[in-house]
C-alpha cells in the first residue's frame, strides 16, 4: 500500500515551521521527524495528514547541551546519536540505557527523541524515562514557548499536551544523583515492551532518600509507581521491604490484556521487572558512593 498524497515542506527554522503549521491547519498539517512511526501509519493509511512539515533542516533542534544540572536534547536528535552520546551517558544514564531497547538500530538511526516522546505510544520507553526523570518538555507555538512537566504531558494513548499549532523543540532532563536503571520485558528484543520499568533511586549510603519509578506498557499512559516510591523512601531496603514496595505498586495496576499478554500475565511481569529494576538501581546507587 502507498501513502495518500500530501503537501511537503522542509523549513529551516522553528518559527517558519510553526507558521506553516498554522497556515495549513485546515489540511491537518503535521510535523514529520524521523518518520519511523508516522510513515508506517501513512503506508497503511491509518494516518492521512494533508501537509507534512519536515523538521530535519532545523539546525537548532539537533543540539545536545548540558547547562549546569540540566541535559537538553533537541527534538530532532536521532535516537542512535543520543544512545551513543557521552553527554547523555553522563547526564541521564537512564535515558542512554533505555535507548538500547527502542526498536533496532536501523530504526534508531532515523527515529528521534522528540518523535518518540511526541508519538506517546503507551508501550514506548522514552515517555517512561521522561516521567521518571521529571523531564520538562519545551513546546513552541504561535504564542511562543512554554514548558510542560512530563507528569502533565502524556494525556492518553498517542495523545500529549502539545497543542494544535505547536511543536516540541527540546526535552530537558535534570541531572539526578543515585542509581538509574531501565529494564524491560519484550517478546523479542527490539519489540515494544510488554512492561518497561524506569527507576531512579537516590540513597544516603544506606537509606533511600528519593525514589522515582515509572512504568510503560501497563496503562494508556506511562505511570509512576507512586506506592513503591513511598514505600521505599526513608527505608534501608532489604528483601522484605523491596517485596512490600513492589506489591504495593502492583496492587494499583490493572494493565489491559491483548494477544500479547493477558492482564494477569502483564501484572506478573510487572511484579518481577519492578523488582529487578529497583534492585539494579539500588546496586548502582551503592556503587556510585
Amino acid at each position: 500500500m502507498k501513502p495518500p498524497p500530501f503537501h511537503y515542506a522542509a523549513p529551516t527554522s522553528v518559527a517558519e515551521a510553526v507558521a506553516l503549521l498554522g497556515e495549513h491547519a485546515d489540511d491537518d498539517a503535521r510535523a514529520l521527524a524521523g518518520g519511523q512511526s508516522l510513515v508506517p501509519l501513512m503506508n497503511f493509511r491509518l494516518a492521512q495528514p494533508g501537509y507534512l512539515i519536515d523538521l530535519r533542516r532545523i539546525e537548532e533542534l539537533t543540539r545536545i547541551r548540558t547547562d549546569g544540572d540540566v541535559l537538553s536534547i533537541g527534538a530532532m536528535v536521532r535516537l542512535s546519536r543520543a544512545e551513543h552520546s557521552p553527554e547523555v551517558a553522563l547526564g541521564a544514564p537512564l535515558l542512554a540505557e533505555a535507548l538500547g531497547y527502542v526498536a533496532h538500530p536501523p530504526i534508531r538511526n532515523s527515529g528521534t527523541v522528540g518523535g518518540s516522546i511526541a508519538h506517546a505510544d503507551p508501550a514506548a520507553e522514552l515517555p517512561a524515562v521522561a516521567l521518571a526523570l521529571d523531564a520538562e518538555l519545551v513546546v513552541v507555538g504561535p504564542q511562543g514557548a512554554r514548558t510542560i512537566a512530563a507528569a502533565d504531558f502524556f494525556v492518553g494513548p498517542f495523545t500529549t499536551a502539545i497543542g494544535a499549532g505547536e511543536i516540541l523543540t527540546e526535552v530537558r532532563f535534570p541531572r539526578r544523583d543515585g542509581g538509574q536503571a531501565f529494564v524491560e520485558f519484550a517478546r523479542t528484543h527490539g519489540n515494544f515492551a510488554l512492561v518497561g520499568v524506569a527507576s531512579v533511586i537516590e540513597t544516603d549510603g544506606d537509606a533511600v532518600t528519593r525514589a522515582a519509578i515509572a512504568l510503560s506498557g501497563v496503562a494508556p499512559v506511562p505511570v509512576r509507581a507512586a506506592a513503591a516510591e513511598r514505600a521505599l523512601t526513608g527505608t534501608v531496603p532489604d528483601d522484605a521491604s523491596i517485596r512490600a514496595a513492589v506489591d504495593a505498586a502492583v496492587a494499583g495496576l490493572s494493565p489491559s490484556g491483548d494477544a500479547h499478554g493477558s492482564t494477569e500475565t502483564r501484572t506478573d511481569i510487572a511484579r518481577s521487572y519492578l523488582r529487578r529494576g529497583i534492585e539494579l538501581a539500588l546496586t548502582r546507587a551503592q556503587d556510585r558512593r
Partner: protein, 167 residues
C-alpha cells in the same frame, strides 16, 4: 500533485529525480533509479528487506520518504561488488550458504555492511544481535552469522595487510 526535486548520490553516482513527496525511498530506488536489488517486504519497518545505508548508517527505505533524504549519500546492494569482484560479505554469503530464497539478502547484506564497518572486531554475539533487526524466514540465521563473521575477519585481515583495498 506537487513534485519535488530530490538529489541522491547512490553508490557514488549523483542523480536528481522529480518525485511526489509521498514516494517512498525504496520505490524511488527501484522505479526511478532502476536499482531493484533493494526489496520490499512489509512496508512498515519490521522485516528489514529494504535496508540501505544513508551516510554509512542503515535505515529502512520503506519508512523513509525520498524527500527526507534529499542530498544524502546512499549505498544499496548494487554498490557492494566492485566490477565482477564480489564484496567479502557477498562472497562469504555465497560460500557459507548464508541465503536460501534470497529475499532478505540485500537488506541483510547492507545491515551486515554497517555492522562490520562500524566494528571490525565484531564478536559472533554482536553479529547475532545486530542482524536481529532483519527477518529471514529461510536460514535460521546460523549461516548468515557464519558468513558475516568470516567476512569481518577477512576484511580486517585485508585492511591491515593493504590499505584502501576494500571499497
Amino acid at each position: 500533485m506537487e513534485r519535488h526535486d530530490v538529489t541522491l548520490t547512490v553508490n557514488g553516482r549523483t542523480s536528481t529525480v522529480s518525485v511526489e513527496p509521498r514516494k517512498l525511498l525504496v520505490d524511488v530506488l527501484r522505479e526511478d533509479l532502476g536499482l531493484v536489488g533493494t526489496h520490499i517486504g512489509c512496508e512498515h519497518g519490521v522485516c528489514g528487506t529494504c535496508t540501505v545505508l544513508r551516510d554509512g548508517e542503515s535505515i529502512r527505505s520503506c519508512t523513509t520518504f525520498a524527500v527526507q533524504v534529499d542530498g544524502a549519500e546512499l549505498r544499496t546492494v548494487e554498490g557492494l561488488a566492485s566490477g565482477s569482484e564480489l564484496h567479502p560479505l557477498q562472497d562469504e554469503f555465497w560460500d557459507k550458504q548464508g541465503l536460501q530464497c534470497g529475499f532478505c539478502t540485500p537488506g541483510m547484506l547492507m545491515r551486515a555492511c554497517e555492522i562490520v564497518e562500524q566494528k571490525p572486531d565484531v564478536t559472533r554475539e554482536e553479529v547475532r544481535e545486530g542482524i536481529a533487526s532483519n527477518l529471514c524466514r529461510c536460514t535460521g540465521y546460523q549461516f548468515i552469522t557464519d558468513a558475516v563473521c568470516a567476512a569481518a575477519a577477512r576484511m580486517k585481515a585485508g585492511s591491515t595487510e593493504t590499505t584502501g583495498a576494500q571499497a
